[in-house]
Symmetry: C2
Subunit: 466 residues, 2 copies
């Protein structure tokens, strides 16, 4: 498919131009005023074209519990989440559709799904998500969430001498599962990539990390993990390694320019230098970090140290939405309270670059994605600047990032294929999806989580809350 | 007008019931299942009824610069705002309409407009806002923003010995203006109240505060001001009074149960006790406090001390939206990072109470507004729980507060009058408003503010940034 977007606003270094953009097949082929029309004509009048953003960290199936989990810190929140996650692959398929739709309607053209696997149906889980993303047409980076230690091992021990049940699946079997997922589903040219994705130091052995490094190198896969989301994880790392988690991950060779790390709230200055040296990417999930009380990630320090930073929504049970523009807004203004010098604050234009090119770098695709550049792939979002939430007219990017844009995505293309037109997703029946999500769920309140009851006294003791 | 909402979800102390709600005239007259139908029947199936929220602090005309002002702290931001505020009363009217519409579509039935007055056209400015709010039908609390010192006096002096130009209007003339506004526009029964609203200690003399107290007592008016929004204001208060601003305001008698105070970021523990003792209300504007880098208001401490807290959007140039649900979400989850003990965190249900009953208390109207109670006024919002942004179904209030609800307000009533039906504002032509806001504005970037240039060196010096 080829098309020409005419008279569209494009951001320049310090302003905007009105120009034409030509797309042949999957690539941007020309950017100039008054281009000859090739293919379909798209009217760009009063519209802004931006590179598609990336929802660079989420867990799609959490959509089934959004709005529901108690106001808890991560460790107890996770216990409640897992107590009430009776998923099946059909639900995985539907929540992946929902995640894709909300991401697209808020400016995203790619999603990194740190996908929770149904025990015993791991490959079927991945297949369900792949099917959903391919049906919608969003670019998908599926990071099957793996661990080889059981949930209670994720809490620091403190003075206690708890033992933990072994995880139900061996490290070797888990690595074999990831390799099989790569064989079956890793098709970057078709818009689906598999990442190695050990959940984090809190629930993974070095053997699992090392096995993932080996798979990553053999198949040229990106690496994706949680990192130091909470103070409890910082404590745990010291107990486990006698050094910071970042130092340990560097020693075992996990960090690098294909490695993206969600959260990164509890890093010290040495850790930050290591991320910069290794060219690792931080995925900032501001809403989740607030909701779970994890803390404010030192994003301004990361930027000053030259660490690449991008944004994610995190799963919809800890946010509780999949609205990328919301994550970008909060993820940029939140840090103004961490440094009195406003000259280090993140501008709306910088936030847009973090959400697009920053994400592309973290996925080792900066040569192909993340900016509107001749030769790059056509992953594009066209925003309708006449929308009520974007008037009066001022600075289009300021309005998008600092405002609360609603129903503003006029069109979206992924790999040159149009998947939103006239503000409607064209590839799936969103109305049918809405009805299914409604009918497969019920109103719920006041759940009692048994695992929370098991964990809470220990958690409060070890975190100094008693 | 009378109506009966049938089979609607209402929140109880710890869950929900499905019931009927009957409204006669402007009041809620019965709440019970299977009520006899009186007046129009409203189908409440799969809908949640909540008391209308209050946008308890905003400046409506800032809508003309939303998305546009540089990423600055308050003092420089304000300089830029005022350099580019060539308002006329028609624009004031339109931005008041816009503020009312965005507030309504995000669950608000009342707005407290700390209204910037056009010099020389002060009463005409107020008349324009009154006209807009009455046309929309939202309950309006208009707080004409007054000061009697010029802008540069709002910066702490530090080591400098600057003098400031006198403000263009005398204190007496300003108070006379407010009194005339009360005579002309203060009609609470018609849905419009005037508040006395000295902007804050940074730009007001004691004579102005004292005159406002006197007017407030004579006409039974609420009082509304900014308070200690920034660290610079904390410094200034020490320079001006030799004590904290709160101590000073208590001494002159400004605080009390009809006084609501926007921001309250830089209060110490003694200040907090004073707010509790005087039963003053804090209006928390989380998005503005982040955008301007003002800081994180100690809201959990306020709640623990028994201080009443509610939410505002603040003006649309410092947020940059008028979405109350966004302010409520961020205003509740933001504080989870300020206290490790999750037992003090704000739950979604507590946030809803703060946004409704908390606001009513601050406006001295808790006997009439703020809850769905027989005998109270029918300021009500009916949310459509089948909306895509609220599925899968879980906890309705959790979804509303923690999610990112979009297009979810099915109906709104103010004083028993329906002003939103089937998700459309019924009282004004929103499409016409959108077109006017679009055509009366233009794309803009890269403005140079002369006042910022004047202030910046001094600001950086006195704040220790050089």
């Amino acid at each position: 498919m080829s098309f020409t977007i005419q008279n569209v606003l494009l951001a320049t270094d310090d302003g905007y131009i009105t120009t034409d953009v030509q797309i042949l097949g999957d690539k941007i082929t020309a950017i100039a005023p008054n281009l000859d029309v090739v293919g379909t004509v798209i009217d760009g009048t009063h519209k802004l074209l931006l590179p598609g953003f990336v929802n660079a960290h989420t867990h799609s199936s959490e959509m089934w519990q959004r709005g529901l989990i108690s106001i808890f810190p991560l460790e107890l929140w996770l216990a409640e989440l897992y107590d009430f996650a009776p998923l099946d692959t059909e639900k995985v398929y539907l929540s992946a559709l929902g995640t894709a739709v909300e991401t697209l309607l808020s400016g995203g053209t790619s999603v990194v799904d740190h996908l929770v696997l149904i025990p015993g149906e791991e490959l079927e889980t991945i297949a369900s998500a792949v099917r959903a993303y391919q049906e919608v047409g969003i670019r998908a980076f599926i990071a099957p969430l793996i661990q080889d230690q059981s949930l209670s091992a994720g809490l620091p021990a403190g003075e206690s001498t708890q033992t933990h049940e072994p995880f139900f699946r061996s490290t070797a079997a888990t690595l074999e599962l990831v390799e099989e997922a790569v064989r079956q589903f890793h098709h970057p040219d078709a818009g689906v990539s598999i990442l190695v994705a050990p959940t984090g130091i809190q629930l993974c052995t070095d053997a699992l990390f090392t096995g993932c490094i080996e798979l990553s190198d053999r198949y040229n896969l990106c690496r994706h993990s949680h990192l130091l989301e909470t103070k409890a994880q910082e404590k745990l790392a010291q107990e486990k390694y006698g050094c910071s988690a970042v130092t340990h991950l560097q020693r075992i060779g996990y960090l690098g320019d294909r490695t993206s790390l969600a959260h990164c709230v509890w890093l010290n200055d040495t850790d930050i230098d290591i991320l910069a040296q290794t060219q690792s990417t931080v995925v900032h999930n501001p809403l989740s970090n607030l909701r779970l009380g994890s803390g404010i990630a030192p994003i301004l320090k990361y930027r000053q140290a030259g660490v690449n930073v991008t944004f994610g929504c995190d799963g919809a049970s800890s946010n509780d939405s999949q609205d990328l523009l919301e994550a970008i807004k909060i993820g940029s203004i939140l840090h103004n309270v961490t440094d009195f010098d406003y000259r280090s604050w993140i501008s709306p234009r910088q936030a847009v670059e973090m959400a697009s090119l920053g994400a592309a770098k973290g996925l080792n695709l900066a040569d192909q994605l993340g900016s509107i550049t001749v030769g790059k792939k056509a992953d594009l979002i066209l925003y309708d600047l006449t929308n009520l939430s974007l008037v009066p007219r001022t600075d289009p990017i300021g309005l998008l990032v600092l405002g609360r844009p609603t129903n503003v995505v006029d069109s979206a293309w992924v790999n040159g294929r149009q998947i939103i037109a006239n503000r409607q997703v064209t590839t799936i029946d969103v109305e049918k999806l809405r009805t299914e999500l409604f009918h497969l769920s019920e109103w719920a309140t006041n759940r009692q989580s048994q695992t929370v009851e098991q964990f809470e006294v220990h958690y409060r003791t070890v975190m100094g809350l008693i």
